[in-house]
């Protein structure tokens, strides 16, 4: 049975929406084990979501409609990005051409902006601290993302993620080329940072020093909070998709439109995501966090790798 491209596209979105909490829960479980705890149940994020959706929404007195619109806008942004990236298939789907890696980055940034705006709207100092930090550090990591994109553009002459994945699959020489290795490591560092792990953020706790993303959602409650939690799990999975299916291991994707091939691609991808999540949890738990203002050092390293990737390409040896 063959699926229509539109159906596959919908399935990509559905995969991200449905499995994002599972991956988050799995990582939290593994992390608990690493720290000598039993860890929460793997399905815990789903229970949390159900609980939050059942609760009432409280809005701070001075907040306007932006406070409630922010989470919805962010969530819809996270629904758009999976249309642009290779979640399940190794061939481009029709809507895959509406935006490149940069467009995906912009939409993710728009989501971040919406959350930050909703947080600032409350007037709560913690929420403002969180959004101010998130915006500042987002701007600092941006050059590395840009240079990774440039590297991809030079390797494939386009910056559509599907083509980079195809290039990686095409031969061994594409994998060992220094430009690719460096860009992968740089992007890996970016994802580590953006999923709130290394270098300064503690992504689960409410300690002020390490609060960035968690702080932004402090004032939200009920369904809006559920959307934010769900959204941040989806953002994490989206970044994993780009890291895994574009850069590290673009294998195991569906090569045809048949139902079986597409369906089998889902568990393969989730397994890969668990693998990467496990790696992230290990890294997160084996390094101490940096002081907040040392974050520039980390950004400098990611930037250095991305710049070197571009340089060796220009030299003709990448």
């Amino acid at each position: 049975m063959k699926l229509a491209p539109a159906e596959i596209q919908a399935l990509q979105d559905l995969t991200i929406v449905v499995f994002a909490p599972l991956v988050s829960g799995g990582i939290a479980h593994i992390e608990g084990r690493l720290q000598g705890r039993r860890g929460p149940r793997i399905l815990q994020p789903y229970y949390d979501l159900v609980k939050f959706f059942a609760k009432e929404t409280l809005v701070p007195e001075d907040a306007s409609w932006v406070f409630l619109a922010g989470p919805v806008l962010a969530f819809s942004c996270y629904l758009i990005v999976p249309l642009l990236i290779p979640v399940l298939t190794n061939y481009p789907l029709p809507l895959g051409y509406i935006g490149d890696i940069l467009a995906g980055g912009f939409i993710l940034a728009l989501a971040g902006f919406a959350v930050a705006l909703a947080a600032v709207e409350t007037g709560s100092p913690y929420a403002q601290l969180g959004s101010s930090r998130a915006m500042t550090f987002g701007a600092l990591i941006e050059p590395s993302i840009l240079f990774v994109t440039f590297t991809v553009a030079l390797i494939t002459t386009t910056d559509l993620p599907y083509f980079e994945a195809a290039a990686v699959r095409s031969s061994m020489s594409q994998i060992v080329r220094p430009a690719h290795i460096l860009a992968v490591i740089a992007f890996f560092l970016v994802v580590l940072n953006d999923t709130g792990r290394i270098p300064v953020e503690s992504h689960t706790s409410t300690i002020e020093f390490g609060m960035i993303d968690e702080a932004r959602t402090l004032e939200h409650s009920g369904p809006a909070f559920a959307l934010l939690r769900w959204g941040s799990a989806m953002k994490q999975l989206i970044l994993y998709v780009i890291l895994i299916n574009v850069f590290i291991a673009p294998w195991g994707l569906a090569g045809s439109r048949s139902l079986g091939a597409v369906l089998i691609a889902i568990p393969i991808f989730i397994t890969k995501a668990f693998g990467v999540g496990f790696l992230f949890a290990i890294i997160d738990n084996s390094f101490s966090k940096l002081r907040l203002f040392k974050i520039t050092e980390y950004m400098a390293v990611a930037f250095l790798l991305a710049v070197l990737a571009l340089l060796v390409l220009f030299l003709g040896g990448g």
Binding site: L154, I155, T156, T157, S171, M172, S173, Q174, V176, R177, P178, A179, I181, L182, K294, T296, E297, M299, A300, V301, F303, L304, L305, V307, L308, L311, V312, L313, F314, L315, G316, G317, G318
Partner: protein, 224 residues
Amino acid sequence: MLASTHVPSVFTGSADAVALVVLLSEFAMLRAPLLRSQIRLYSFQSFAVTGLAVIVAATRNLNELFIIAGFSFVLKVVLVPGIIMRLLRDSRVDLVGSHRLGVASMVLLAIVISVFGIFVVGSLPIHSQSLPTPALGLAMAIILVSFLLVILRSDVVSQAVGFFSLENGVSVASLVVAAGLPLIVEVAFLFDLLVAVVVFGVLMRVHHNRTKTLSTSVLDRLRG
């Protein structure tokens, strides 16, 4: 674009990657706060250079290079770091706050310098038969960044390590342009390093005995 049509072969790609590892460890030395970790990084960097020599020797059938690689392994990976480590242990100093600039600004400065080096060499019409040409640009970048290491870190160990890693950069460059150099010349280069080790060893000892520290910033006060 040039880059998209030209995909490097597995040999070229991996050789370039090793040269990059050498450059990256140079950057890491620039950052490393512990003197011990700096020496370990030097040892690691020398190991990468040795690996590069082995790759070139194996793929280009230059048997003499195996001997050089062996020498360089014994000297630069084991012996020299061992000696410096021992001197350091005697002086019982681990940490010298010797960064003259913030880490991020140092790295950015080093990026600018290496870009300069890479582009300058890239514009020269030098082509090599034994190693991919980009490695030469990277070697230049390694040399320039190690200059930066010597300039920006004000402690004796960093300056010694900077000087030794300068030699590593030169080794990479010589592997690129003259892999078939006569054995005796290469060995002479390597033993030059030993002389440098002795000089720096004496310098470290004397400096530490006089000032009880490894920082060179106290030397600024020695004005006539």
